[in-house]
């Protein structure tokens, strides 16, 4: 989708912060993803216009970064760390459990991620970039269910406050 009027104003403010407009590609892609739930081709075209580059350049940049989802994903993004500290404290079992449990649930996308810089509380995961630590498969499932049932308020898909 194209930027809403409010977001278009925000987008222009963001571009103005930088000595060169192209520097605004990452922040604008976050803004678009917040609005639409994923990074659409249309949004990348609009970002290209706002930053004075071609749509291919925007896509070239955005496709490099794991946080940009270039196809629709669930409204809850569960990112489970399995890097070494989480590996030796139970991360892979959490990933396996959640992947099976929410495999055919369109609201929930479970992904494996690299170290989240939360190893002091390993095993760790994020739900829409909100941290949760010292988990077991059971606690993790209860947590995701809490978000699903509205007992917890999630951030947006790009991690902003609602």
């Amino acid at each position: 989708m194209a930027f809403s009027d409010v977001n278009l104003t925000r987008a222009r403010d963001i571009v103005a912060r930088y000595p060169r407009p192209k520097s605004a590609i990452l922040p604008l892609a976050h803004l678009a993803q917040d609005q639409d739930g994923w990074l659409t081709a249309e949004a990348m075209e609009e970002i290209a216009v706002l930053t004075g580059v071609t749509p291919a350049e925007v896509q070239g940049t955005c496709s490099f970064y794991t946080m940009f989802k270039r196809r629709p994903c669930g409204s809850l993004l569960v990112s489970v760390c399995t890097n070494v500290t989480c590996l030796v404290t139970g991360g892979p079992a959490i990933l396996r459990h959640l992947t099976e449990r929410y495999g055919d649930d369109d609201d929930v996308t479970v992904e494996e991620v690299e170290c989240l810089a939360a190893c002091g509380g390993a095993p760790a995961l994020q739900v829409n970039y909100e941290y949760h630590e010292q988990l077991t498969p059971e606690i993790a499932e209860a947590l995701v269910d809490d978000y699903k049932a509205g007992r917890r308020t999630p951030r947006t898909i790009s991690g902003a406050q609602r």
Binding site: R17, Y18, P19, R20, K22, S23, A24, I25, L26, P27, A29, H30, T51, V53, G60, T61, C62, F64, Y65, T66, M67, F68, S79, T82, N83, V84, T85, L87, V88, T89, E114, C115, L116, A117, A118, C119, G120, G121, A122, Q126, N128, Y129, E130, Y131, R155, G159, A160, Q161
Partner: protein
């Protein structure tokens, strides 16, 4: 006597856990006093008499002298930029995450003082995209600092102007490399650039740029408060001051510990972090993040001294992440997971790193899952020497950035300390069919 933490950079966030990140708490605990003082000094005075005299070395991983780096800025070329590295992606490092979430004003004060000292008028704070709460608090802190006149035009009536922009990353470990960070800030893929020219000479938008880590910036106000020479009395040799170490893995009390440099690994791991948990023995530990070669229990009495660890132990304190593994750990599995990380995060620009990390991951996968072949370890060392010629620390490299040689740290460590164990695993693996036959 039992060792204790020396809390300089982490003092506020440990003492005021409920509101250490707010402007009110920061001002109530002496915040921005050092900025006032700095603005009455000459930039070169701050560089030489404070930062250089303190002996401060970068806390991001490479440990380069901060004052020295600033002095490389070519005279008379403007604009200059300050880029602060808060990308923290090195596995098992979680100190900058804490500093950003819990003491953002301390970073900002360090940034304004440093920008004044290097005569920069725009500073970018590049924060790892996944730190949603940290970015929220840092952005709030920047807004509050603008409102109070600590950032913006004519700061505190000094005539010095500075804009501070919080730039959010989007998930790429390589954006933590200083030149990858600059590419990313320019709106490109975060691909590192060849040095020289170093960023101090040609950095952001090809202008002179200083890149410094979040912890480095957080230390600057304290250097002014204590005085550079006084700060330099802390620590050992050329490793002055304190550092925050992130201790994780099989320890009783994982977490961040700020200690004076020069205490031993044993004091940090056993006394502060509570030692190996569950009454087990330590098998090995990794002293400086995923990129660092490993160490064994026999090295525990070595000092946390950047030079000693480099020259005597052939590894590094790196990003200050210490991972501890107990006696039941399969070292091949740890090596495989680290290579899976590197293979995923290699930006693809240099062939040795891109292809090397991918093949190392595949071979380590089969070794760690019981399907290794007897020649596997030597094969990895053989093709690894095309990434790290000679395989000798300090590592040389055939790649643009230091990630290339990092991919070989785990493999070299397996060969140094676990060769017999790996060969045994591989021989057992070779006795089985190479392609596992599974029944449906």
């Amino acid at each position: 006597m039992a060792v204790t933490e020396t809390r300089i950079v982490t003092n506020r966030l440990r003492e005021f856990t409920e509101d250490s990140w707010t402007i009110d708490r920061y001002l109530a605990t002496g915040g921005y006093d050092m900025l006032r003082q700095a603005l009455t000094m000459q930039p070169v005075q701050i560089q030489d008499e404070q930062v250089k005299a303190s002996g401060l070395r970068g806390r991001g991983g490479a440990g380069f002298g901060t004052g020295q780096k600033w002095s490389f800025l070519p005279k008379g070329i403007y604009p200059r930029y300050l880029a602060v590295n808060g990308d923290e992606g090195e596995p098992s490092t979680f100190k900058d995450h804490m500093l950003i979430e819990r003491d953002p004003h301390q970073i900002i004060e360090g940034v304004v003082i440093s920008a004044f000292a290097i005569e920069a008028h725009i500073a970018f704070i590049y924060v790892r995209g996944e730190f949603a709460l940290g970015i929220e608090r840092l952005e709030q802190a920047v807004a509050d600092a603008y409102a109070k006149g600590f950032i913006g035009k004519n700061i505190l009536g000094s005539g010095f102007d500075l804009e501070v922009v919080v730039h959010r990353g989007a998930g790429a470990y390589i954006a933590g490399d200083e030149t990858g960070l600059l590419s990313s800030l320019e709106g490109e893929r975060a691909m590192p650039r060849i040095k020289p020219p170093f960023p101090a000479v040609q950095g952001l938008y090809a202008k002179p740029t200083v890149v410094n880590n979040v912890e480095t910036m957080s230390t600057v106000p304290h250097i002014l408060r204590m005085g550079g020479e006084e700060y330099a009395k802390l620590g050992v040799g050329r490793s002055t001051g304190t550092r925050i170490f992130s201790v994780s893995g099989h320890v009783a009390r994982p977490g961040n510990y700020e200690v004076e440099l020069g205490i031993t690994f044993r004091q940090l791991i056993d006394e502060l972090a509570g030692g190996v948990r569950g009454g087990k023995q330590m098998k090995f530990f990794i002293p400086g993040g995923a990129s660092a070669p490993w160490l064994m229990p026999e090295h525990l009495d070595a000092p946390l001294d950047m030079d000693y660890v480099g020259s005597e132990l052939k590894t590094m304190l790196g990003s200050g992440a210490i991972m501890v593994f107990d006696e039941d750990t399969n070292p091949a599995l740890i090596a495989w997971r680290l290579l899976k990380f590197f293979a995923h995060e290699s930006c693809g620009k240099c062939t040795p790193c891109r292809e090397g990390s991918m093949w190392l991951e595949k071979v380590l996968f089969r070794i760690s899952h019981g399907l290794g072949r007897p020649q596997d370890l030597d094969m990895m060392l053989s093709f690894g020497s095309t990434i790290v010629p000679g395989l000798n620390a300090p590592f040389s490299q055939t790649t643009i950035c230091a990630m290339g040689p990092s991919t070989m740290s785990a493999v070299v460590s397996l060969d140094r300390f676990f060769r017999e164990e790996i060969l045994e695993m591989c021989n057992a693996g070779a006795a089985r069919p190479t392609i596992p036959v599974t029944s449906a």
